[in-house]
């Protein structure tokens, strides 16, 4: 393997690897804009110029590859390449390019959403000159281009790194974007009659190094340095993309993909990301509720356990065969364990099934048609999973009582099916619904248990590939909503049963007993990229229409 020196670090680097990749791997800072590890290399921004010994001019670190020299030609007797990223030549080249990039950049950082996470800002402080030598009017360009349904384009801020163009060509394979015009008027543009409209369009906002492409949903919402970020898992399909949740003052403001090679790479779909919009205006319930007739009675949690035990115990529907216990694939493993324990203690039967809700199609990048993030988790817990999109009315027919967790069985159904479910639930003696919002199903309940939302709790989710990932709490529930495993502890202890501590860790220990892949693991191993807890299926391209 060639031996190279970058600044004063000696590195053995594989032949054909680029200087930039080797430097990044070894913690050496080389500024860059157009390079992106998941996109092709174009060498256009020229920011990563470094001095390479023997080269007549500075070379771009992103595109210059490492080769081997014959033994008698080695530099200083041993090196195949000697690179300097901080020499006067390198620094002058970097400063020069940065000055060019800032020349016609509007410097409207005070009103720019990217401020605080802008590479142009950061490199300017590190590598740039404090004063501009431009004494002319800057070149102006449109500021608010409606480039797509979820993306707004500020042409002036763009530094023409073309990452967004390459994303649309190489990753989403939709090819909406191109460069148009020439010289200093060069701009990113959509082809005539097209919009930046594909299922992954907001990824262009993620990879835009400046504030040129901004998210329509997030722009002007909050300065990024106020955001509190946690690692989490997207809830919107069986892929379970690794995400970072950015929240402020109890509100989730955006989801950003975390680079996770075994799950989603650096991308996520717009639908998953825009869960922030769908969470708005949900009818959130804050307290446990019991209904008698048409009147709801609110309870404090400390009294609720006993009330629950009494209500269930007093129900004529105490025989196991009269209960329907429907769990959702949105429950975390710990919540499923809680549901399982409750079901066995009070209904003398196993929990389940878990409906396999699916719509749309698998695509070739990330999206799965199975829309629940923890279906594989249910399978691993030994909880039965129903047939895909099987009607649920059959589960309730002839039953006297139901426990329905995190699944709006009424609201998600349509037509005759919806009427059948409504009729079945309406005829029951006891319907217990637990969810994070007051759903249509909740309206038919006798007992409503307010659950913490996915963003308000910790939990472990297993995606369709068998990768288990842990979420963290992004916001403290503004009202007293709790994850179901905490409710289960409350319920079980109120009736005198043994129960784990009402915490994530308490129930996670229970999960480890039932999921073999997790048995000898620690929580740390589930972070940040997750752990493969079952043999991964053979890596093959998922063809359209070929689902689980």
């Amino acid at each position: 393997m060639p031996l190279i020196r970058i600044d004063d670090q000696e590195i053995e680097a594989p032949q054909g690897e680029t200087i930039l990749r080797v430097a990044l791997k070894h913690g050496i800072t080389i500024p860059y804009y157009c390079y992106h590890p998941a996109l092709s290399i174009v060498g256009q921004c020229r920011m990563c110029l470094v001095e390479v010994k023997g080269a007549p001019k500075p070379l771009t670190a992103c595109s210059t590859t490492i080769g081997a020299l014959p033994p008698d030609k080695k530099i200083e007797g041993k090196y195949d390449m000697v690179v300097s990223t901080k020499s006067e030549t390198a620094r002058k080249a970097q400063r020069g390019v940065l000055e060019f990039l800032l020349l016609n950049h509007p410097l409207d950082c005070p009103i720019c959403d990217q401020a605080g996470e802008c590479q142009l800002q950061e490199y300017s402080y590190t590598f740039g000159d404090p004063a501009s030598r431009l004494e002319f009017e800057k070149v102006h360009a449109p500021k608010r281009v409606d480039i797509g349904p979820h993306v707004v384009f500020d042409v002036e801020r763009c530094i023409k790194c073309t990452r967004c163009i390459r994303f649309c060509q190489e990753i989403s394979k939709t090819g909406e974007l191109t460069l148009s015009e020439r010289g200093v008027h060069t701009r990113v543009d959509t082809f005539p009659g097209r919009k930046l409209d594909n299922p992954y369009s907001v990824c262009t906002v993620d990879i835009c190094p400046v504030g040129a492409l901004t998210s329509r949903e997030f722009r002007f919402k909050e300065r990024v340095w106020f955001l509190k970020s946690v690692n989490s898992v997207c809830q919107e399909c069986a892929r379970g993309c690794s995400v970072r949740v950015d929240a402020y003052k109890g509100e989730v403001l955006r989801l950003v993909p975390r680079d996770n090679p075994q799950v989603n790479g650096p991308w996520m779909c717009d639908y998953g990301r825009l869960i922030t919009e769908r969470m708005k205006g949900l009818d959130l319930a804050g307290r446990p509720l019991l209904r008698s007739g048409s009147a709801w009675q609110g309870y404090e949690w400390k009294d609720f356990g006993a009330a629950l035990v009494e209500r269930v115990g007093g129900s004529p529907a105490s025989k196991s065969e009269s209960w329907a216990v429907v769990l959702s694939g949105r429950l975390s493993l710990e919540e499923m364990a809680g549901a399982q324990a409750v079901s066995q203690a009070f209904f003398k039967r196993s929990a389940g099934p878990v409906p396999d809700v699916a719509w749309g199609e698998d695509d070739e990048l990330l999206i799965r048609k199975e829309r629940r993030p923890n279906l594989m988790g249910a399978r691993l817990m030994g909880i039965p999973v129903g047939e895909q999109n099987a009607p649920l009315s059959g589960l309730f027919a002839g039953k006297k009582a139901a426990l329905i967790l995190r699944e709006d069985v009424v609201g998600d159904a349509q037509g005759a099916e919806k009427a059948a479910i409504q009729k079945a639930l309406g005829a029951m003696d006891l319907v217990i619904v637990a969810d994070s919002s007051f759903t249509e199903t909740a309206r038919l309940a006798h007992v409503f248990i307010p659950l913490a939302g996915w963003h308000e709790m910790e939990g472990v989710y297993v995606n369709f590939l068998g990768v288990a990932q842990k979420t963290a709490r992004a916001v403290v529930p503004p009202r007293d909503r709790r994850p179901f495993h905490e409710v289960a502890s409350l319920w079980l202890t109120a009736a005198g049963h043994d129960a784990p501590e009402p915490t994530f860790l308490g129930w996670h220990a229970r999960v480890k007993e039932s999921v073999p892949g997790l048995a000898e693991t620690s929580i740390k191993e589930l972070l940040p990229h997750g752990l493969q807890v079952l043999d991964a299926p053979a890596k093959k391209k998922v063809k359209k229409g070929e689902g689980a």
């Binding site: 290399i41 174009v42 060498g43 256009q44 921004c45 020229r46 920011m47 110029l49 007549p56 001019k57 500075p58 595109s63 002058k92 080249a93 020069g96 390019v97 000055e99 060019f100 990039l101 020349l103 016609n104 030598r133 431009l134 002319f136 070149v139 530094i159 023409k160 073309t162 191109t178 460069l179 015009e181 020439r182 010289g183 200093v184 008027h185 060069t186």
Partner: protein
């Protein structure tokens, strides 16, 4: 006075010179028959290599050597490209050949195709040369009719096609890889190298690209032999050159002379001296992209070595002559406008730097300049030079740097006086 050698221009001015019959009447296509029937591709390639034919597009890379970079063998699909996107300011030599003797170019291309065993050649001609495109297409049609193109050429078993393709008005498409992107129907933008065209060219196929004049030399080399060719002109860059002279000379035009003729002889003998018999002020010797020379620097030979000695280059051999009525700041402004307009915009130093240079030079010419502007021009141009994907950045930086270095006093006078000091001279010279 150096004797005018009519080799490349042997048919220029003859009646009906663009017709295949006229071309064949003067021995045309005989070199092609020779190589197809008697020479192996390897022999043909070696003959051109031996002639040390330096590329005529501007960079001066040996053509035969370039051909030899292509993978060998008939089985490998390969293309040739003829770069007829002649758009360097001050350069108009290829146009003369295209419009007057297209068959000499075509014959060179077919011989190159035989030597490299390529499948065909794309003839990419500048969009603003509609007549040339028409004439060349006609020549191609005639060559097909005579069996010099197509399947099994002259019974040799060699198949070769030529496709004429017109540019759409971008200077940058004269850069070889931008030309290829443009040919493929994409936005004409230089590609990052490596990979070089010999490995990854048009449509990703190994490709050899040469200038019009380079190909036109090939039949002459085949007909007369490499040793005959190397005896003409300078030993380091043999053969004749088509010098295109424009600007303040009495007889502007294209002159075919052995390389190595002096610049002084070119201007004062062949081009008839300076217009208005005024003093010479400056000469750009090789197309607008090369460093400018002062009047006292013209006793140099017009070959790569001679011009290198005075810090400039032969480039495309387009000589731009300026007499003492020319304001060098205004002349530079003209060039800077051109490069800022033609920068493709993909890489930062050229996109932003050419525009900035134009602004600085315009401010100087219009009287708003600062004494520090000379150093600013040198620094900005220095930040472009050697930092870009393709040579357009250098092409803009070199004149900027050389104009300031060679005529610094005139630039400073602009800043000092707050106006163009040449204004009155320009008015009265009236030429």
């Amino acid at each position: 006075m150096t004797e005018v050698l009519k080799l490349l221009t042997r048919n220029v001015g003859k009646p009906n010179s663009t017709h295949v019959d006229a071309y064949m009447g003067s021995g045309g296509y005989e070199p092609l028959m020779t190589v197809l029937h008697k020479w192996t591709p390897e022999q043909t390639l070696n003959e051109v290599k031996g002639a040390n034919l330096k590329g005529r597009g501007g960079a001066g890379f040996p053509a035969g050597l370039k051909w030899s970079f292509l993978p060998r063998g008939k089985e490998v699909l390969k293309y040739l490209v003829c770069n007829a996107d002649e758009s360097e300011p001050g350069t108009f030599k290829d146009r003369l050949l295209i419009e007057n003797d297209p068959h000499s170019i075509l014959e060179g291309i077919i011989i190159a195709g035989w030597a490299t065993q390529a499948a065909g050649c794309f003839f990419y001609i500048r969009g603003e040369m509609p007549a040339g495109a028409r004439i060349f297409q006609k020549a191609v049609d005639q060559a097909y009719a005579k069996g010099f193109l197509g399947k099994n050429i002259l019974g040799s078993g060699f198949n070769f096609d030529v496709w004429v393709s017109r540019g759409a008005g971008a200077y940058i498409c004269g850069e070889e890889t931008a030309l290829m992107d443009s040919l493929e129907g994409k936005r004409g933008q230089p590609r990052l190298k490596p990979p070089f065209p010999a490995g990854y060219g048009v449509y990703g196929v190994p490709t050899n690209i040469n200038n019009v004049e380079s190909y036109a030399n090939v039949p002459l080399i085949i007909k007369n032999g490499a040793s005959w060719y190397t005896a003409i002109g300078s030993s380091s860059a043999p053969g004749t050159r088509l010098f295109g002279i424009s600007g303040h000379v009495k007889r502007p035009g294209v002159f075919e002379l052995p390389s190595g003729v002096t610049l002084r002889e070119l201007i004062y003998e062949h081009a008839g001296g300076i217009l208005g018999d005024r003093p010479l002020k400056a000469v750009i010797p090789g197309g607008s992209s090369v460093p400018v020379l002062r009047a006292d620097q013209i006793d140099v030979t017009m070959d790569p070595d001679g011009l290198k000695a005075v810090g400039t280059m032969l480039g495309s051999a387009g000589v731009i002559v300026m007499n003492d009525s020319v304001c060098m700041v205004k002349a530079l402004l003209n060039l800077m406008e051109f490069y800022a307009h033609e920068s493709c915009g993909q890489c930062t130093p050229c996109r932003e730097g050419t525009h900035w240079l134009e602004l600085i030079v315009r401010r100087l010419e219009e009287g708003g300049g600062r004494p520090s502007d000379c150093d600013l021009i040198l620094d900005v141009a220095g930040n472009i030079m050697g930092r870009t994907i393709c040579p357009l950045g250098d092409a803009a930086a070199m004149p900027a740097i050389s104009f300031v270095q060679q005529f610094r006093q005139e630039f400073e006078a602009h800043a000092r006086e707050g106006r163009c000091p040449m204004r009155d001279v320009r008015m009265t010279a009236a030429i």
